[in-house]
Symmetry: C2
Subunit: 150 residues, 2 copies
């Protein structure tokens, strides 16, 4: 049984998200899924992870409703792993991490992968946190509210 440190009982949505994802491997699997990977081997080559690790992570992601295991589209006996709607909803998370990384960990001109608009091949706009009425918000413009259940 997995007894990793759990955060799933927290009232904080961030903690529950973190707990649902599991670990970094899982997050990078999701990234690869966004990039088009579907097969066990594709994930493995991309990640360089040991097979048992990958197997375990795929299983927890499927169990968590983030990936779905479907029969291979090429008719082979194997499975493919595709994002569920819940998994696709992680898109902003991945994009946010990607943009943060692009802005802080690459020298100008250094090789890196970039997420672009498929239609125009252009870079994406940097994610903005907006208020309900559309103002740009920084960290200091927000505060955490406790909402008690009823």
């Amino acid at each position: 049984m997995v007894t990793r440190t759990r955060f799933d009982d927290s009232e904080c949505p961030v903690a529950r998200s973190v707990d649902a994802i599991g670990d970094w491997w899982s997050l990078l699997i999701v990234r690869d899924a966004f990039d088009g990977s579907r097969r066990f081997g594709e994930f493995q080559r991309s990640l360089g992870a040991a097979k048992n690790i990958l197997t375990a992570r795929l299983r927890t992601l499927v169990a968590g409703g983030i990936l779905e295991s479907v029969p291979a589209s090429d008719g082979s006996a194997y499975r493919e792993y595709v994002l569920t709607p819940k998994g696709e909803a992680l898109f902003p998370v991945i994009v946010a991490l990607r943009q943060w990384g692009e802005q802080h960990f690459f020298a100008p001109g250094e090789a890196h992968s970039q997420l672009v608009d498929r239609r125009q091949g252009k870079y994406l706009r940097t994610l903005e946190v907006l208020s309900a009425d559309g103002r740009r918000l920084g960290p200091d413009d927000t505060t955490v509210h406790k909402v008690s259940g009823h």
Copy 2:
């Protein structure tokens, strides 16, 4: 020496981000910093982590330029930990995780903490991934481009 699985040599910005953050504890520390925590004890109470764990994570976050250690503002002999600009730039990441969690892991009416606009006390707009010219983009509208260094 820490020999955790490293992703920092990857060309993928997501991987480098993940590597720079370190682990979930570190991410939750950053979350607490956004929520206003500054002192060792504040983080510890909020996280429920062992002190040695917290010490180690704070150290790596400072070393990574995400937090900065400054003298305590109350004149005591202790330190406070505040986000650097680089750390503040993680804001969209935390918000994205928070929103994903709110949408998938809480029953309607269940108690949870919520991030609100300080000025109006209202919820934030859901993060949107936009193209350079402002169209909303889903995962299928984007593709990963390899940019080779020069």
